[in-house]
């Protein structure tokens, strides 16, 4: 296919490649900077779905791949922590269709709670990993990832970083659309049922696959050498490669497209031709340590460059051994909750009641900043409930009675339900109060649907989880809904009452996100119109 060149973000390029690769199903959970991949795939006509969380997304993807379909699974870096359990054993199995897992890392934490480096997962779980340097490579390496995945029947991780995801660069799409065979179940028990008897040989097979892929990577992997003088050789991965090319155009440069398993012989040959060898990588010293272990000595970067993104200036500093303090960029204005945001009223009440707030992740995390400063903990999605319960268990009663767990609607579905089970099963002596801030969307990442909205990724109506019913069915003692129409002071009175009881309580504070509200109304109207067109009599009966 010779499509004309396009200016695409890395995320868009992956979606386009997935379409050309014949992906039958894309699954994932939103998370910056990965969110736009599935949204674009859907817009291009692919079949994409949001799962409740990343673990489920990977499991659905795995099932599709067992069934013979090419599958794309997307998440942000911390999402892979949630999906790690299926990942570490999925690698033991033999897939039928290709499965590519996109992990979007966020060095510099533009929009994340940590800057973990997911290259460690490639080694830990023995998964091949590809790392594009721009949108063209994001496109090319996605296609390649599917080929590798199918050839060795193994999941492949495509690791991208914020700058690759969100930078737009020119892409020349060149793929002939892949004609995938129709999915068809072929039973293969020893390679898919991981009981010890089958897992033991499976582990050996996995190591053989990785060794074979390493040899392939050396022979024809997606690395590239830019010629230059022998005085300085640079080995770079991801976005660091383009910074390096700009900062040191005179240097010899080896960019490595598949960073696990490494093309060690290629690297060894490259190293032999350089007087000075520097490894440029964002995040942890993963590559430089791997080279050291393989007996290829190379210079890494000083510890201070582990933190934050790299840039052309920072690469110049590393190359020049410049250890002077880096200039601190002037602080911009931090984001704040929108005017009219429903979270505002909740945090005013929590602040005024001097609550100890076990918080969670979403727009509402901004409740930690002035003028509210009404959040005391925030660790990972879903942690608010467990952390709140832990505080309740050990604090003196006067303090324990002020502890409230606050969690968003999307976050609750993602990983709050098990927290609720814990509350019912191990209730603190003083009871506990959990608040779901239900604004009808996943606002933080750009207003995605989730199982509590009752609409699919494509915004079509589907099954809907009712938080109140769920909590009652699970055995939570007090379940209340506070609507935005409720009279002033309702939430405060309710919380005061619940905090004095030694019972388990859930309060759903329900008011749509002001940015999402017009779209929600639009989707609701479209669904109602369609229903009426399809079945006018039924509506008349209601």
């Amino acid at each position: 296919m010779s499509e004309s060149p396009q200016l695409l973000s890395g995320d868009e390029a992956i979606a386009l490649a997935a379409l050309h690769a014949g992906v039958r199903l894309g699954t994932g959970y939103p998370g910056t900077p990965s969110t736009e991949i599935l949204e674009t795939f859907d817009r291009l006509g692919g079949r994409a779905q949001w799962s409740p969380n990343e673990k489920v997304a990977l499991e659905v993807g795995l099932g599709a791949a067992f069934g013979g379909a090419r599958t794309l699974v997307t998440m942000k870096h911390v999402g892979l922590n949630v999906a790690a359990d299926p990942l570490f054993t999925a690698t033991y199995t033999d897939l039928a269709g290709g499965l590519v897992l996109v992990s979007a890392d966020d060095p510099g934490m533009a929009s994340s709670q940590n800057e973990q480096d997911n290259r460690h997962y490639a080694r830990a779980a023995a998964v091949p990993m590809l790392e594009p340097i721009d949108s063209q490579q994001a496109y090319d390496l996605t296609l390649l990832a599917f080929e590798i995945s199918e050839r060795w029947q193994i999941p492949v991780i495509l690791r991208i970083t914020t700058r690759v995801c969100h930078s737009k660069t020119i892409v020349r799409p060149g793929a002939t659309p892949h004609l995938a065979p129709e999915p068809d179940f072929a039973r293969n028990i020893p390679s898919r049922v991981m009981i010890p008897a089958y897992a033991k040989p499976a582990h050996r097979r996995l190591r053989e696959k990785i060794a074979a892929i390493a040899a392939w990577n050396d022979a024809q992997g997606p690395h590239q050498i830019f010629d230059g003088g022998s005085a300085l050789g640079i080995i770079a991965t991801g976005i660091a490669a383009v910074h390096a090319r700009e900062a040191a155009p005179q240097a010899r440069l080896l960019t490595i497209g598949m960073t696990h398993p490494l093309p060690l012989e290629t690297i060894r040959r490259f190293a032999a031709g350089c007087d000075r060898l520097v490894v440029l990588e964002e995040g942890d010293p993963v590559l430089v340590e791997a080279l050291g272990a393989a007996g290829i000595p190379a210079e890494g970067k000083p510890e201070s460059f582990r933190f934050g993104e790299l840039s052309v200036q920072r690469v110049r500093r590393i190359l020049a051994h410049d250890q002077t303090p880096e200039p601190v960029p002037p602080k911009g204005k931090p984001p704040e909750l929108c005017q009219g945001c429903s979270h505002r009223g909740v945090f005013e009440v929590l602040r005024d009641m001097n609550c100890i707030v076990a918080g969670d992740i979403g727009c509402y995390t901004l409740g930690v900043l002035p003028p509210f400063q009404a959040m005391d903990t925030c660790v990972c999605m879903g942690a608010s409930i467990g952390v709140g319960l832990g505080l309740r268990h050990v604090l003196p009663e006067e303090q324990a009675r002020r502890v409230v767990s606050v969690i968003g609607d999307s976050t609750f579905v993602h990983s709050g339900i098990t927290g609720l089970a814990e509350m019912v099963y191990n209730p603190p002596k003083t009871g506990h109060v959990v608040m779901i801030l239900d604004n009808g969307t996943t606002a933080m990442t750009g207003q995605q649907e989730h199982p509590g909205t009752g609409r699919t990724l494509h915004h079509d109506p589907t099954g809907k989880i009712c938080f109140e019913d769920l909590a009652r069915a699970m055995g939570v003692q007090n379940v209340h809904v506070v609507h935005f129409q409720s009279e002033e002071g309702t939430l405060e009175r309710l919380l005061k009452d619940l905090l004095t009881r030694s019972e388990t309580s859930l309060v759903v504070a329900r008011q749509p996100c002001v940015l999402a509200a017009p779209k929600i109304r639009f989707y609701e109207k479209a669904a109602a119109d369609r229903l009426q067109a399809a079945c006018p009599s039924q509506l008349a009966d209601d």
């Binding site: 200016l7 914020t162 383009v242 700009e246 052309v312 200039p327 002037p330 929108c338």
Partner: protein
């Protein structure tokens, strides 16, 4: 690298900084340049500082404009001028929001495109590519309004561009 043009567009969330950089990058792409555009975004909430880098030329490597190397800084909000000034190279041009008087535009929402008009006076991108980029990146009902804003900005720049 000296044939690469570096532009930084800055402002506050909700002002259309990213839309403006999309239009600029698209216009440069249509004009046949190698283009890279980069920014950090993600959080939905309005109001925080936002900036976007656009680089174009024969061949562009890094998508980020190195500090002190921007040829032009376009700023949509007065309070954001000082914190971004450091991106400009010596002799680089600043296009600030004060270029467009308070009641000149039908809506202040098109300030982003008006300032692109001002920027266009400094760049060698033919008008037809700007038009096409505006059309491709904005809803049809917004085309006329933004074409007018663009023309206004371009005229204003012909009179005055603040030296940095």
């Amino acid at each position: 690298m000296n044939n690469v043009t570096n532009i930084v567009i800055a402002g506050l969330g909700g002002q259309g900084v990213l839309k403006a950089s999309d239009i600029l990058a698209d216009a440069a792409f249509r004009a046949g340049f190698d283009v890279k555009k980069s920014e950090l975004h993600g959080m939905s909430q309005r109001g925080g500082s936002v900036s976007s880098d656009v680089r174009f030329g024969e061949q562009v490597w890094s998508p980020m404009v190195p500090a002190g190397e921007a040829d032009v800084l376009v700023v949509l909000e007065e309070t954001q001028v000082e914190i971004n000034r450091g991106v400009l190279r010596p002799g680089g041009a600043l296009i600030g929001p004060d270029l467009i008087g308070p009641n000149v535009l039908k809506t202040r929402k098109s300030l982003n495109v008006a300032l692109l008009g001002a920027l266009s006076a400094l760049l060698e991108i033919p008008q037809e590519h700007w038009d096409a980029a505006i059309h491709a990146n904005l809803e049809t009902k917004l085309h006329t309004l933004n074409e007018q804003a663009f023309a206004l900005g371009r005229a204003a720049a012909a009179q005055r561009v603040t030296p940095a």
